[in-house]
């Protein structure tokens, strides 16, 4: 059985006379020990969805099963017990500002029923884990954003959770600090085998952290695949929009106009593996008798596997060009035809 199972989750909010649907019929399962990501634009319903997992948000319809416990029919006590085994990391850290780091962690430990006498030892241990052992008596206001998030992680780990939920945990941090936090989370996942569910709008995070990923749009889950597959060949509209923007294959308008002054076709190619596309390109050129110019090209690594990104411009007779486009569609994982006046 999967560790987390969401079945047909709906969440609606009543606002005055309007009913707003934040999550619509979402079903997904997360396996033990994996890092599962949910990406989407803000307002897609990601935050609401992730909060149904520990029942901070009760779904309007549907079933939440965590470690075999059906939270949908559970009483407050069972839900509180489930929460103790689910750590939560927030975008804005959400530490108690008027309490020291040690007191912040002591609160979480007490909530989890950790014996008071052993708390100081555990607090030192937790702060050591995130590299803040010497800051026990500091207040959150004395820390940088990255350090606050480390405390957030320590707090989430206080009661040896099986699951860690992360709500945009790196979005309020600069790139370097975000990478640091991602590194810590990876380490935690590897060493402690904690399942991580991470939601974000940043595809950088998806690339470097997720094993599997789901895409959300307007409250619905529109795509679910391995991270590598999402980047190599996104299926949904939203997936394509997010990935295209991230891989940034859009050429500047000026360049586009210049290239397409001649008649021909601009193509974006994406292909799996680090092998060169040159043989295919040469072959297609020979076969159809067109010219193929490479405008831009690079290789991205996702989950240690390569994805090649290439922008090419085909010129020749209209028939030959459309024939070549067809062959590219057959031979390459992901092809988009770029029009000059988009």
């Amino acid at each position: 059985m999967s560790q987390i199972e969401l079945k047909h989750i709906d969440v609606t909010f009543k606002q005055k006379k309007r009913t707003v649907t934040a999550v619509k019929d979402v079903s997904l399962s997360v396996e033990k020990g994996e890092i599962f990501g949910i990406v989407g634009l803000s307002g897609a319903g990601k935050s609401t969805l992730v909060r149904t997992i520990n029942y901070l948000q009760a779904p309007t319809n549907g079933q939440v099963v965590v470690d075999g416990t059906d939270l949908s029919h559970a009483n407050a006590k069972t839900i509180a017990a489930a929460r103790r085994k689910i750590g939560f990391i927030f975008q804005n850290f959400n530490l108690i500002n008027n309490r020291t780091l040690a007191q912040n962690l002591a609160f979480a430990l007490t909530a989890g029923g950790y014996p008071e006498k052993q708390q100081p030892k555990r607090i030192t241990e937790l702060l050591e884990l995130v590299g803040l052992a010497d800051r026990q008596d500091n207040y959150p206001g004395q820390l940088s954003g990255g350090q606050k998030q480390r405390v957030g992680i320590a707090r989430a780990l206080a009661n040896d959770p099986d699951i860690l939920l992360c709500d945009e945990a790196t979005s309020a941090l600069d790139v370097e600090t975000a990478e640091e936090i991602i590194g810590i989370l990876k380490e935690i996942n590897r060493r402690l085998h904690i399942t991580i569910v991470f939601i974000t709008h940043q595809l950088e995070v998806a690339r470097s952290l997720f094993d599997r990923v789901a895409v959300m749009e307007n409250g619905r889950l529109v795509e679910q695949s391995s991270t590598y597959d999402l980047f190599a060949a996104p299926q949904s509209d939203m997936g394509q929009r997010l990935v295209n923007r991230f891989l940034d294959t859009d050429l500047p308008d000026k360049v586009k106009a210049q290239v397409t002054k001649q008649t021909g076709q601009l193509l974006t190619l994406r292909y799996r593996g680090s092998d060169s596309l040159t043989p295919i390109i040469t072959k297609i050129a020979k076969q159809t008798g067109i010219d193929i110019n490479i405008i831009q090209g690079r290789v991205e690594f996702i989950q240690d596997k390569a994805i090649g990104v290439l922008v090419v411009f085909l010129t020749g007779s209209a028939v030959a060009v459309s024939q070549a486009v067809q062959i590219f569609h057959q031979r390459v994982d992901y092809v988009t035809e770029v029009s000059a006046h988009e």
């Binding site: 901070l56 108690i96 500002n97 008027n98 309490r99 609160f107 206001g141 206080a158």
Partner: protein, 219 residues
């Protein structure tokens, strides 16, 4: 001049003591009950806990009703109640009863505001640990609201000091009564001015201490 000094020598000590009794007894009661009612209002209106709109509106209505009455009228209406609780309504203790009734709703609103101002994310984080409400109150709501609560206490104490003068005139004594009896009714400007100066000093000291204390608990 000599008369002023004589009056002050004979009466000021008792008057200050009576005012102090009224303000501190009522202040103590107000802070305890006001905080509890404020917490109650917060708990039943916050979507993170247990929103009960009907219960909340009823409670809100009662509070607003008490606050709608001018203190002068409330004080008179409460004379029988003060008699019941304190025995003699025309003593500092009797005065403290009506002061408390008037100020509890006032402080309850301030306390509710202090709790409501806490970042919802912090409360959500607390709930995500599986903590119960009492623990969340002790370790999150109280420390995070404490600076605002202290400022609310200062505001309330200063208001109580002002209203205690009114209670004083119907027989509870105190420094306000001194000013009215000697300064106003007997045309002794010296007494009036002295009382005003003393009140200004007291209010400044209370405000200064409160600000320092609030700052101390803000990290």
């Amino acid at each position: 001049m000599n008369e002023t000094i004589t009056i002050l020598q004979q009466n000021l000590g008792t008057a200050l003591w009576d005012t102090g009794k009224m303000v501190f007894i009522s202040g103590f009661i107000v802070v305890i009950f006001g905080t509890l009612i404020g917490l109650f209002l917060y708990y039943y209106s916050n979507p993170l806990f247990a929103p009960r709109p009907v219960l909340n509106s009823i409670c809100g209505f009662v509070i607003n009703a008490i606050r709608s009455l001018p203190f002068l009228i409330l004080m008179v209406v409460l004379i029988p109640f003060a008699k019941l609780v304190a025995g003699d309504p025309y003593t500092p203790l009797g005065g403290a009863v009506s002061l408390s009734v008037a100020a509890i709703p006032f402080f309850a609103r301030l306390a509710e505001g202090a709790f409501a101002e806490i970042d919802a994310g912090v409360v959500e984080a607390a709930r995500s640990t599986g903590a119960g409400f009492i623990l969340i109150f002790q370790e999150v709501l109280f420390p995070e609201a404490l600076p605002a609560l202290i400022r609310g206490v200062v505001l309330t104490l200063i208001s109580l000091l002002g209203y205690s003068a009114m209670v004083g005139t119907i027989g509870a004594g105190g420094i306000g009564d001194l000013a009215i009896q000697y300064g106003y009714n007997r045309y002794n400007t010296g007494v009036l001015v002295s009382v005003i100066v003393i009140l200004i000093i007291i209010v400044q000291i209370v405000q200064w201490c409160g600000d320092r204390l609030a700052d101390h608990y803000t990290r």
